[in-house]
């Protein structure tokens, strides 16, 4: 079955020329997204996890051409849409954009402060359905209700709402064009903890109702576990492990995944310490270690890990990991 969304070999490298007194005359390449591939079916959620600098946000942005990728294919129903997004044919571009939308992390910054909520929701309708102008108001009201806001508050401005409510508006805006895929970048990280569960529930319910697929980016593994069907773990621009959510969490094969999962403090005092202790810190993206990028910090590193960069290999029916010495 042709997947709804398939990303193949996505790449984004930044050239950095470093001048100045601190790092004299070094220049290098930051491999922000380095050959990332994954597959997503309708109604599924891929959780994209990793720490800062791993490239998860850049990946999502590249998929929507907010950041132009250097190479790779983005297949919607089997057809490569990357050239369309970057191209000049506006009609074709709009047809693609209609199917993939984005929810931003910061609910304060992702809405134009000088526009009312109604105006913010009207924009996607204006761009994609200009001929149905008469139906816009009804659609906006329906959208607000779907995300749990009262339609009559649409005349208000973003600053009059709380963070959780603004995030609901952001979700409503993404859903306005009835997309097939929604990429969400840390949608609950900026929200109060007592409000996060509301938004997570909303996202889950919307997915059940509308059959939309999510790419859910987060560093908060517990919310990822809740919302995802599959998980991809990124490190220094690569996917190091990918698979079904329960498999990944119950039995991580890559040592970084294991460290990441074990590093999250569990809200149960006296829980058994299954910590995988990592040495050192994430290396600068410019000084990427040879061989496996994770080997300097890995307690299970073998000599081969320093020389050969492992490729993703199947580790079971539902997971793949890039490791010479998997757990």
């Amino acid at each position: 079955m042709t997947p709804l969304l398939e990303v193949r070999g996505l790449r984004k490298h930044y050239r950095v020329a470093k001048r100045g007194m601190i790092e004299r005359g070094q220049s290098g390449v930051v491999r922000a997204v380095d050959d990332v591939s994954f597959v997503l079916q309708a109604g599924q959620t891929l959780g994209l996890v990793g720490e800062s600098g791993c490239g998860k946000t850049t990946t999502a942005r590249s998929i929507l051409d907010l950041v132009p990728a250097d190479a790779g294919e983005i297949l919607l129903d089997g057809r490569d849409v990357r050239p369309i997004l970057a191209g000049t044919d506006r009609t074709a571009m709009l047809a693609v954009r209609r199917r993939m939308q984005y929810v931003f992390q910061d609910p304060y910054l992702s809405l134009n402060p000088r526009w009312t909520i109604n105006e913010a929701l009207r924009e996607p309708l204006r761009v994609h359905a200009p001929q149905h102008q008469r139906d816009w108001d009804g659609r906006i009201a329906a959208l607000l209700e779907t995300v749990g806001l009262e339609p009559r508050n649409g005349v208000r401005y973003p600053h009059e709402f709380s963070g959780g409510q603004r995030q609901r508006v952001g979700i409503a805006r993404a859903l306005a064009v009835e997309p097939d895929v929604v990429l969400l970048d840390e949608p609950v990280s900026s929200l109060d903890i007592s409000v996060r569960s509301q938004i997570l529930n909303l996202l889950a319910a919307l997915q059940d109702q509308l059959g939309v697929a999510y790419v859910y980016i987060s560093h908060d593994l517990s919310s990822v576990r809740f919302i995802s069907t599959h998980v991809a773990v990124m490190y220094l621009g690569r996917i190091v492990e990918i698979g079904a959510v329960d498999e990944i969490f119950a039995r991580p094969r890559h040592h970084y995944t294991a460290a990441l999962i074990s590093a999250i403090p569990v809200p149960s005092p006296g829980a058994v310490d299954r910590r995988v202790h990592l040495r050192g810190e994430v290396p600068s993206a410019m000084n990427r270690p040879t061989g496996c990028p994770f080997h300097p910090r890995c307690a299970a590193a073998l000599p081969i890990c320093r020389e050969q960069d492992p490729a993703l290999q199947p580790m079971g029916p539902k997971t793949q990991a890039a490791c010479h010495n998997p757990a």
């Binding site: 907010l66 939308q101 931003f104 992702s110 134009n112 402060p113 000088r114 806001l149 900026s190």
Partner: protein, 314 residues
Amino acid sequence: MDADLVPAASAETTPPRRPPSGAWRQSWHRFRRNRAGMIGLFLVVLVVLTAIIGPFAAPYDPNDNSAMLRGAANAAPSARNWLGTDRNGYDVLSRAIYGAPTALAVGLGAMLIASLIGVLVGGVAGYIGGFTDEALMRGAEFFMIVPVFVVILAVVRLFGIIVVGTALERIPNLNLMTIILLLGLFSWPQIARMTRAEFLRLRHAEFVEAARCIGTTRREILFRHILPNALPPLIVLVALGIGGAILAEAMVSFLGFGDPKSISWGQMLFFNYQALKVAPWACLVPGAAIFITVLGFNLLADGLTDAFNPRLRA
């Protein structure tokens, strides 16, 4: 998650207590609470009203020097001439009133020119970036390096000489217009830089990215998202610039390079400073007028800065 030291007051969304307020109205509310800003606004309104209504209410024609014929030049303030007369027998009050529209014309005219050029140049530089940006900014720097004042003096004098005997001479207030044009031409770099900075910042703003995600055209993004959000700091610069332009014209005129046929406060100072000991009111009045006007615009700019950038204060 940053823990705010002062928890923000979250709004009610069930029964609204007050009508929805956009960002502009919110800024206005904040402005109203700023005392300095309100004083500035009051002063500016005062000057504007003087400029509009004054000429109809002035007691004398500003060019009426009949007092000289009566030997009442340099007369102290009296019931007849509330603020006295000056060296040429003009009524000081009337001339001061007529100076107001001149000052405003200078300020607004110069800033209009500066804004048009500045926003265009800065906007293009900020939005397009790259080589265009570099080139435009070097051009702006050229205008900033040039010693503005000296150039204005030189050009005005030169222009004045060239024009003598030609048809251009008959254009009223030509000299003044030259000054306004020059002031505008040398004030645009500041506005351009601010515009550029705002455009650079807003280009990467998340709500702009959201618009790109949706597929909004570049032009719509520019005019409906970026420009309205770039306006606040520009408005502040313009307010300050108006005050600055008025002051600059006053200086130019005071040095004798102004337009002798126009009635401006600087001109009044130029005519009357030699008689300072004998008729101080003839200089104090225009001096005070300049002071009040420039102060007004500066306080207004202060108030606007605070209104657009709310900070929490006890």
